[in-house]
Amino acid sequence: MAATGKMRIYRTTIFLLALTPIFLRAQVPTQISPNVAAQIVMVPQPKADTSLLDNVTATSRFDPPIVRPGEKTFYRVTVSATQNSIDWPNEIAAPSKLKFGTAARGQLMQPDGVRFQPLTEFVYEVTSATAGHFTVSNFVVSVGERSVEIPATSVDVTADAATQPTRELTLEVSTTNVFFGQPFRVRVISPATPENQVEALRDVQFNGSGFLLDKLNTRQSIEPIDRNGQLRPAAIYETVATPLATGPLTLSAQAFTASVMSVPISIHAQITISSAPVKNVLLLAEPLKLNVRPLPTAGERAGFTGAIGKFSYDPPQLSTNRLRVGEPTHLKIVFHGDGDLTRLVPPMPPRSRDWQIIADKTPATGFTLIPLTDETHETPSIPFSYFDPQSEKYIDLTIPALPVAVIGEGLPIQLQVFDDENKSAAPLKLSDLATAPGKTIGSLKPTQLHGWFICVQLAPVIALFALWRWDCRRRFLEAHPEIVRRRMARRALRREKFKLKKAAASSDADAFAHHAVAAMQIAVAPNYPANPHALVCADVLAQLDNAEQGGRGGETVRKVFAAADARFALTSQTQASLLALADDAENVLMKLEEKL
């Protein structure tokens, strides 16, 4: 029962613990009311000045208000609000005889005490071919959530009007025929007023797609310029433009007039600076048409990085021309050229197996070179080229290789070694120089890989084969001795026939008879076989056909043998009758030889 009571206590405790989430809440951040939150957020910030929106003013005028028919005037509307806040209509309701041309709009911020006040101006180029008094009536535009009325204004077009030069800007470029990517100089000129007052330019804006204008490299100055043969001071705003599209492109400019004292400007002319405040007027320049051609692909050289113009460089200089492997040296290259060199993309470091090449950070144009081997004897040549727009050709301006002496890393020539007991032993070191070339060899390539070695090994094979053939032949001849006899007989017969002819030629009848008999004996000897000297006339005749034995052949044999035997007689035959048998003896020998 006691155990049952304890269990009840445990169960009750667990039950109460299980119910605790119902009665407990998670910790939540302290709730702040929206008003307090707004105060926290807004307190550090200055109070928004909404007075500008409340006091938006608008003015309109024609500049100049009186012009001759066909002359140009500008319809100007100025609103004291930001450009983006104005919902300007696409078309202005105006008399049909007024022709609205080029339109522009611009915005600037005018200092007004501690604040800056926005000012937006809309300008339309207006002309009228007919005389009259024309009024552009008032109209309403939305500025933010307010409606602002643009007041009406009039222009008188009359032939009696005095000629007034319209206030315009002039846009000048260094060239109107350029290549893609070729930087060219742009000048916006604001000439002096007839009173010789010069107004500076601010918020200069170039209009036209396909150009990159350099806003960091600008300059404004007052210089005398030639206008209709007269030198007149003018404010000149200069910058550099780069075409980024090809084809016929249009570039125009607009700018607000400003006090000479309010902008950084260098004055190089005699002018009158008025102390009166200058009214900021948006002026326009006539658009210019430029022809932008693409760069030719033919003839492009290695190392072209887009440089267009005329460039050169001073002789490259190495910080040192004697260095060790892994030791850096600096290659200094100073480029010269027309135009802005800050935009010059330096040559790309080429890949080299012998050098590590690191280009300096732009605008520097040098390289850090690290030799990787001492086998190199010159720095790598760095390909570079530019496009010359005048000659319309790519010009090679590769940085040449410079001679260097690279020394390898030194290696030790002696090494201290220690034995097992960590005691110093005899040091390892290199040997001395060999004073003689020593054992030589024809080639490091082993003999067995040379083709001629196989041929040499064939020689014993051929010799053994020849020896075997010789042995076979020898055994064959041993088994067939008649072949040897006939061969020997033919050889001896040739010799006797030669002697026979010699005897006939020398008319030696005794020798003729002797050699004829000897030849006949030799020719018939293998047929018996017998010793040639043992054969007599009958033996020779027996080897002739029956017809021949009784014919001329047999007769010749008998006569020859008789003549030979006559050597032993008391009276000899006449020489003439024996030598006449030379041809017959020859025929007999031929017939006997055929049977040999």
């Binding site: 492997v325 081997t373 001492d374 020394i407 390898g408 890393e409 030194g410 290696l411 030790p412 020539i413 090494l415 070694v417 390892l428 070191k429 290199l430 040997s431 001395d432 120089l433 060999a434 004073t435 003689a436 070339p437 020593g438 054992k439 030589t440 060899i441 024809g442 080639s443 490091l444 390539k445 082993p446 003999t447 067995q448 890989l449 070695f453 040499v456 090994q457 014993p460 053994l464 020896l467 075997w468 010789w470 042995d471």
Partner: protein, 241 residues
């Protein structure tokens, strides 16, 4: 027949002038080495070795290469000196020293390759040829010349055949060793494919031995003790080239 002496004289003159040029390069190399102008000395010894490979010339070439910092080229030159003359003590001493400095191992040779180092490579092949034909001659010639087969001739044939069979393994070892080579350049890359931008498998030590397996363009496929891959030909020197 009258032309024969003239031909012999020209041949002798060509060989003699070539020998003289080789000796000139060798002497010049020694002079330059003693003057401490090791790059020029290496060039002179290399010229001499190209004209007439000699163990002493290659030992000196290795010394000059070592002094100018080319450990790989030095090890290769000394290995080539031992290839010509396995008993050259200077080459062996220098190789031991160089491997201790460069921390590289000797090439691992198979048993038949080890046996091939007991004699110069060309001696093995001539020994094999001579012993073979001696055995064949001792067996074939007596019957041809009708001499009785004596026991000493048969013993001579047996000895010749035995020497021939024993030298076959060494000859095979010589041919097999022609694929041995050494890394010539420091930090040479072993790459996965024989292309310029091949993925690097490992970096090899200068003087490290390897065995050429095959060739593709300017690359050798080699196997080292720990890896296999492609290496630029200029970074690897074969023992017999």
């Amino acid at each position: 027949m009258r032309v024969l002496p003239f031909i012999f004289a020209i041949a002798f003159w060509i060989i003699d002038s070539s020998q003289a040029a080789t000796n000139d390069s060798f002497s010049r190399g020694i002079t330059l080495s003693r003057a401490g102008e090791f790059p020029e000395a290496a060039a002179a010894f290399e010229k001499s070795a190209q004209a007439q490979p000699a163990s002493g010339t290659l030992v000196n070439l290795g010394l000059a290469e070592w002094q100018r910092g080319h450990a790989g080229a030095a090890i290769l030159a000394w290995e080539q000196a031992r290839w010509i003359d396995p008993f050259d003590q200077r080459a062996a001493q220098n190789l031991k020293f160089a491997r201790a400095v460069a921390q590289v191992d000797e090439p691992q040779l198979k048993w038949f390759e080890t046996s091939s180092t007991w004699l110069p490579p060309n001696d093995w092949v001539w020994l094999a040829g001579a012993s073979l034909w001696l055995a064949v001659g001792a067996l074939v010639l007596p019957p041809v010349f009708r001499r009785r087969k004596s026991s000493w001739l048969q013993a001579l044939a047996a000895v010749g055949l035995g020497i021939f069979l024993a030298s076959l393994a060494a000859n095979f070892g010589v041919v097999s060793r022609t694929d041995l080579g050494f890394v010539l350049k420091r930090n040479s890359a072993l790459i996965l494919t024989p292309t310029r931008g091949g993925e690097i498998i490992s970096i090899l030590n200068v003087g490290e031995p390897a065995r050429k397996i095959r060739t593709h363009g300017n690359y050798f496929y080699i196997r080292t003790a720990s890896a296999a891959g492609w290496i630029d030909r200029s970074a690897f020197g074969l023992i017999n080239e």
